[in-house]
Amino acid sequence: MNSSNKKPALAVVNLQKFFLNHSTPLEVLAQISLTVNNHEFVSIIGPSGSGKSTIFNILAGIEDPTGGEIFLSQKRIMNRKGKFGYMPQDAALLPWKTVLENVMLGLIILGNPKELARRKAFDLLEKFNLTDFANHFPETLSGGMQQRVALLRTVLFNPSFLLLDEPFGSLDALTRHEAQMWLLAAWERFSSSVLFVTHDIQEAILLSDRIYVISERPAKIIEEVKVNLPRPRALTDLTKSPAVELEKKLLALLMKT
């Protein structure tokens, strides 16, 4: 996707974050600026502990920034809660709710009647062939299945803009690739804009239109790269020369930080 001629769905300008509950203020984010266009898949990649999750916590409205501005569809937003479909690290499915009830969760919080929420959640599970699990408790599902259910929950709450925080970090390699391809298919179906955090270079290349590389704490953006691979993508694309070149470049950048 070409980003230059479009107005961004999300623009983050000079985002700053200090943690003040230390004897000296701890600078976590130093002037982070980034954009995500409509229907674009953008990844943030960086060393662990670099503040990637802090960016997401701020966008999702769980933490407040120390400085900076956030624009959603060119409008500056102050109250960010509910504006994004946020999926925290590890699936975070409520163990006491069934798969169906978990997928319904967002609609219930928004105040929808239970029956309507139930029907919409069931329809969504049906589209992804997950109705067999509708009445199971999440902990009886495999890790890959849990991630799918969590993603559908996020999508049902807000399909327009997804914040995905290392969703596949806890999966083994095979399940992980399966889940990645599944995510790409789902993303094309919902035509969401996605901001994706990972520390897996290949994952970022396989999924993204653009990748931001951030440094160690205090995090700043050290590079922005485009992924020029055609869509739809396949796992084998990772062995093609543009992907291999890109992987080398990103690896060099991350090793330097």
């Binding site: 409205g61 769980i62 999926m87 925290p88 690290q89 975070a92 919080i109 709450f157």
Partner: protein, 253 residues
């Protein structure tokens, strides 16, 4: 079947203890005024079962009302502590410190204040049961994964929605551990309350039996009291299966 194999060793050992007790009393010809044999205790129970019934009923009534009250108060108290940091800071240390007060010593005071009614016994049961319930429920809510709270916050959930969608159901397994302890205490609480003064109840019956050196009847009441506790314990286990189905589903995986 699973239930049976799980408790079989305990059951076998229990039977062994009963048989050994019976044999020791018979072989050593121990005076039944000192230590009656299990068969003598059972015979005494059969002889007195009718006169015992109203006492059992009375103790059961006090126990269940007191335990129910402790559940309502304990859960409400835990929720208030959870919702307000200021109240928590003011009350939580006092709650812990209050456990140093011997409840047994409070029972005579309650009798003076409320007389020979049902109320002082219920209060003693509630005092025994409140603490384990309140602390277990509160700790259960504190131990909820912050990921769940973050998720709900990002969806714009209100404080009350977070409470009843995440914190309260998430605290249920811990609540039931507390309730099991409370259920075991509760019968003891009722008997302590009755000991101080009353007209009816296992505590009264036990005291009268002891005063007239009817040692066998004292044993009968002890056995009944612990059977009542076991019954409550089992009831709590059944409730837990109903209200915490996800734990059972995971364990049977």
């Amino acid at each position: 079947m699973q239930f049976f194999s799980k408790y079989l060793p305990a059951l076998l050992f229990f039977i062994f203890l009963i048989v050994a007790w019976e044999e020791v009393v018979n072989i050593l010809k121990i005076n039944s005024q000192i230590l009656p044999s299990p068969s003598a205790i059972f015979a005494a129970y059969s002889d007195h079962v009718l006169s015992l019934m109203p006492h059992i009923g009375q103790t059961m009534l006090e126990t269940i009302i007191g335990l129910g009250l402790a559940i309502v108060l304990g859960v409400s108290f835990a929720i208030v502590l959870r919702l307000s940091a200021r109240i928590r800071q003011a009350l939580y240390p006092l709650l812990i410190a209050s456990q140093t007060i011997p409840i047994i010593a409070l029972a005579p005071l309650l009798l003076i204040w409320f007389g020979f009614t049902l109320l002082p016994k219920i209060i003693v049961v509630t005092l025994f049961c409140f603490f384990p319930i309140a602390v277990a429920f509160f700790d259960g809510m504190e131990k909820i994964s912050p990921q769940f709270i973050k998720l709900l916050q990002s969806m714009g959930a209100t404080r009350l929605q977070i409470l009843y969608l995440a914190e309260m159901p998430g605290a249920l397994p811990s609540f039931f551990s507390g309730l099991r302890i409370a259920a075991a205490y509760s019968v003891t609480g009722a008997i302590v309350g009755e000991y101080v003064g009353g007209y009816q109840g296992l505590g009264i019956y036990m005291q009268n039996a002891a005063h007239s050196y009817a040692v066998t009847l004292v044993f009968v009441t002890i056995v009944i009291a612990s059977l009542l506790s076991l019954l409550l314990f089992a009831a709590v286990a059944v409730l837990e299966k109903i209200f915490v189905p996800w734990n059972t589903a995971t364990k049977s995986k």
